[in-house]
């Protein structure tokens, strides 16, 4: 058989084109956009940076997109950091935590140790401010007459972060402002699509009052009204989400 170099290079380019297509297909099928978001009216408000990131603007000018943090996260077997795409062209090439439902940050604090530019800085686990986790009270089992506490068991900070409001509706968990935003509670929530959402700190400052009034309103709600809310609205929604997830996994 006679293969000239020209043929070889041609076939190489064709091969690389098709292989990139197939890669994109597998990736697209694996990470389908999850429709079942908790707190659908609150958006994340930007991107969630790896732990130890300096302030957003300074981070952007320090990060050279070398990929050390991404690969170290892979070496540590957590795989939570990804490189952000061209949707937001200013953030292109910078690291962020992509999929907290499956790959949350485990706070191993290896990436800030090895970041060569100083965009991620070595700090204590407790002082990390990646984001702020919010519980969707309409979906959480603990707020709807069940005992779950999966989120508080998964939390690496434990009692520092979780407040419990014990009452007629069970042990109702609430995440206070000491939250580091690692997203382990998002992963370990048993509800379909998770009942916890992590948003950035800046976004939290804007939705804080709204969220707190919702929280206080639920605590002070009369029993009759709360009963109606749980049984006519919340529980059917929780069950429906469970069924959708079940169908997807099947």
């Amino acid at each position: 058989m006679n293969i000239t170099r020209r043929d070889f290079i041609k076939s190489f380019f064709v091969f690389s084109f098709f292989s990139s297509l197939s890669i994109s297909k597998t990736v697209a099928s694996s990470s389908f956009e999850r429709q079942l978001q908790p707190l659908p009216h609150i958006d994340i408000g930007g991107v969630i940076r790896p732990p130890g990131a300096v302030e957003e603007n300074i981070f952007r000018s320090k990060c050279i997109s070398c990929g050390v943090c991404v690969n170290i996260c892979h070496v540590m077997k957590y795989n939570s950091i990804a490189i952000s795409g061209i949707k937001n062209i200013k953030n292109f090439g910078t690291p962020f935590i992509k999929d907290m439902r499956d790959f949350p940050c485990a706070l191993c604090m290896e990436c800030p140790k090895y970041c060569p530019t100083g965009a991620l800085q070595k700090i204590d686990k407790e002082k990390v401010t990646m984001g702020m986790a919010l519980i969707d009270f309409n979906l959480c089992f603990g707020w709807n007459g069940d005992v779950c506490l999966s989120c508080s068991k998964a939390c690496p900070m434990g009692a520092k972060i979780f407040d419990f409001y014990h009452g007629q509706w069970g042990n109702q968990p609430y995440i206070n402002e000491n939250c580091v935003g690692c997203g382990l509670c998002v992963k370990h929530c048993p509800l379909g699509g998770s009942a916890v959402k992590v948003i950035t700190r800046q976004r939290y400052q804007t939705v804080k009052t709204e969220y707190l009034t919702l929280f206080k309103g639920l605590l002070e709600m009369p029993l009759e009204q709360r009963y109606n809310l749980v049984y006519t609205q919340n529980l059917p929604e929780i069950l429906a989400r469970g069924r959708i997830i079940e169908r997807e996994y099947r």
Binding site: S61, I64, G67, G85, K98
Partner: protein, 263 residues
Amino acid sequence: MKINTLRRVFLSLIILLFLLQFLRIKILVGSLSGSVLIWSLNLIDVFAFLESLVATKDFSEKAILSVFPLILLYTIFGRSFCGWVCPMDYIFEQINKINKKQKNILKPSKQIGYILVFCFLIVSFFLEVPFFTNYLSHLTNFFRILSVSILGVLKFPVDISVLYFSLTALFLLIGVEFFFPRLWCKSLCPLGKIYGVFNKVSIIKLKIAESKCSRCGICDKSCYMSVKISDSNKPVIRDTNCIYCGRCVDKCTEKIIKIRFGV
């Protein structure tokens, strides 16, 4: 052993070390613009450091500590990064073999590279983003393609648009290389220009026994970076464009060109 084969072995060794990080073997983690060696030594590319410095307008101790080992390395080895470590050198060589007839029509002066370096630094200063390293750099894009495609196939979370962007950038560069051979390396690449400055102070040099030279001119023809070796009438060559690839050393009929270290 020919220097060319030695060079290829060295390049494949470096790429292999970088690929081992996807098997969770932690010898060399990161990419060629910034990496960690054996979990102890942080390394950062010199031009990336400059851009990051200009963008932040602030000294970062960690970045200086990371760039220092490389400055030390380049004061010894000069611009040999381009010839020995940069994967583009191999890719461009294969591209050039396809169209041997293509002659480079454009012959820009050496200064245009320095102007480009200055332009990228200005852009980084005003956008507050390390512009070249983040979007255009062939090293970053090459390693982004590797990382995103491998992690994507293993079904870990990746953003697939990064792969498209990096592939487009790299193919554009290959297109430029196809029509204007070695234009990028010779006169445009800002990374190469920065390493070229190190060539002036580096310990490595080309040594020529001028008296034995038969003036065949084969060294000038074989040189990829069009360094004028036979014209110079100097026993020692420290040109900013020399990448110490050793093509002239291999091709020389009298075997009088040698790569040597010395002040």
